[in-house]
Symmetry: C2
Subunit: 328 residues, 2 copies
């Protein structure tokens, strides 16, 4: 049988943010409908090379496919070699036979499916008249969040704060070109939060930098950066009176920004309003008041990789991208 | 960068049992020297298609590579399609950068590295004058055990018992051709055990079929079949006075034939003599008397896949096998 191979270039050509947003929505709904098996994340640390390799796997009963994403972060890359620091490979298997359907570069999958997650949450929870967005962090994920958000809302101004000025410069050119929103580079978190309707955080910070006093009534917060115990971007006090939505409650409680609010004793797990799949399935009301503060905490799920890879595979076949190889 | 792709045919051409035996020995030694990270096995069950997909991963500090094996067993295959029931893919990554070095068909890897494990144990623990081997099960793994054993010992007669007569017929032609030993097809376990110096079990049995009365002093037993709780091929009483060696004590205690002897109260974990890597490293004496009964219980480890795949990759490069694809 033939297995389709897709390079980073092929994946880039097949991926459109719009398609991924619709795929991730389907994935969240499948997860909450009990149609998804998502084993624990496997993690190997390779401290001698400043590296880490994680494996996220998933069986999705709805599209009858099994996905395995092997994602590595080797921080020395780019110095000794010209390899990127993040390298990923995604394999897609037929859930009816176990046959390898497609092996694709996975470098772009994580970024775009995480961007899609943030955009989906804003579509559901942000005020419809949101125009201004604050973004923390100036890396690839920060930009991806904005590209995705601009697909679903009419954003006029993007206010970016990053500790790293070099990243920021890149953001301005790239960001304005891709989103048609005005990009304002800010010197402080306070400046970034000025007039913001939506705020998105994408940093690896271990100490929060957004104080509760900066969060206005009616704001929607997308907390992306915290994906392991010890990471923290937001004052946990913000969670006290907010409507808190998670991608996966068990994951966010142990790894996400939600964890910090629980560990601080500000909320308990019972105070979490919903998983996002429940909102997409219409099981609970969305935003109920204009002055409500809503928070979406996302730690990332194997089902997002699954549905994104499955969509890439379908589109690549339609467009005739990639090459085939017969493993068996 | 270029990733090497190897089909089942390429892997078959690159693999030699001799090479795999030496690789697996190195792997066992690395494991016992604390040079190996071996995360828990990931398992997804797909009952609607009578399928299961397992992921075994490993970082080996000695060869500085990360391996991920995705192995599926879909029992309906071969009926609705001409796909094999067992399908596997093995990925090998550079442990210094996370770069994907090689993706190979994994269908043959599990069989040959398991065969190598049994042969290594016989080389270490069986009587040097062993001539006759009893084999339970007539499938691919039964044959692989014999091929590997015949590389390390001068076996004259192979006595096979299987519930499935069809498998047996295949064994006779194939087995004699590949091993130059006389193959005797037996109607009962008792007949197979007659005059046997070594006995190897490779069945999925859930109820033991070899009684203690059939095990003579001086015999070496290789217990391959039991790899999950509930599987059982040997009368647990055999463990009472035997020298018990495991591939991995934690795995064998929870998943292997050793588990049955412990659960029955016949031995405790403290009675296990050693892990095989300790014997290879010369940390403990091997067989000490001609009338000693020795047992090697193997449940299969990620490190065996790692070293086997790494050896296949090296040989394939030398021989110019496979094709290259640039994922990144």
């Amino acid at each position: 049988m033939k297995t389709l191979l897709l390079s980073m270039k092929d994946v880039k050509e097949a991926l459109s943010i719009k398609e991924v947003i619709s795929a991730v929505e389907e994935g969240y709904i499948a997860y909450n409908a009990g149609k998804v098996q998502q084993p624990d994340i496997v993690s190997m640390e390779i401290p001698e090379y400043n590296g880490e390799t994680d494996i996220k796997s998933c069986y999705n009963k709805l599209n009858e496919s099994i996905s395995v994403k092997i994602a590595s972060l080797f921080s020395n890359n780019g110095k000794d070699s010209d390899l990127p620091t993040m390298i990923g490979t995604v394999l897609l298997f037929d859930g009816k036979t176990g046959a390898p359907l497609c092996i694709m570069d996975g470098s772009l999958i994580t970024g775009i499916r995480t961007g899609a997650a943030g955009a989906i949450s804003s579509k559901l929870l942000a005020r419809k008249d949101s125009k201004t967005v604050a973004v923390f962090g100036g890396g690839g994920q920060a930009r991806m969040q904005i590209y995705a958000l601009c697909q679903v809302m009419d954003i006029q101004e993007v206010r970016v704060y990053s500790e790293y000025q070099k990243e920021l410069a890149k953001y301005k050119g790239d960001g304005e070109e891709n989103t048609r929103a005005k990009v304002v580079l800010c010197d402080t978190p306070e400046e970034a939060m000025k007039d913001a309707d939506i705020a998105i955080s994408t940093t690896p910070s271990k100490k929060y930098f957004v104080d509760k006093s900066l969060v206005k009534p009616g704001m929607h917060i997308v907390a992306v950066g915290a994906d392991m115990a010890g990471k923290n971007e937001w004052d946990p006090e913000i969670f006290r009176d907010a409507k808190v939505v998670n991608d996966s409650i068990p994951q966010c409680v142990s790894l996400g920004e939600t964890r910090n609010a629980i560990v601080s004793g500000i909320i308990t797990e019972a105070d979490i309003y919903a998983e996002i799949g429940q909102l997409l399935a219409g099981e609970k009301p969305l935003r109920e008041r204009d002055d409500e503060i809503t928070i979406f905490d996302t730690t990332g799920m194997g089902i997002q990789d699954n549905v994104t890879a499955a969509r890439v595979y379908e589109i690549a076949k339609e467009k005739g991208l990639g090459e085939y190889f017969e493993f068996i």
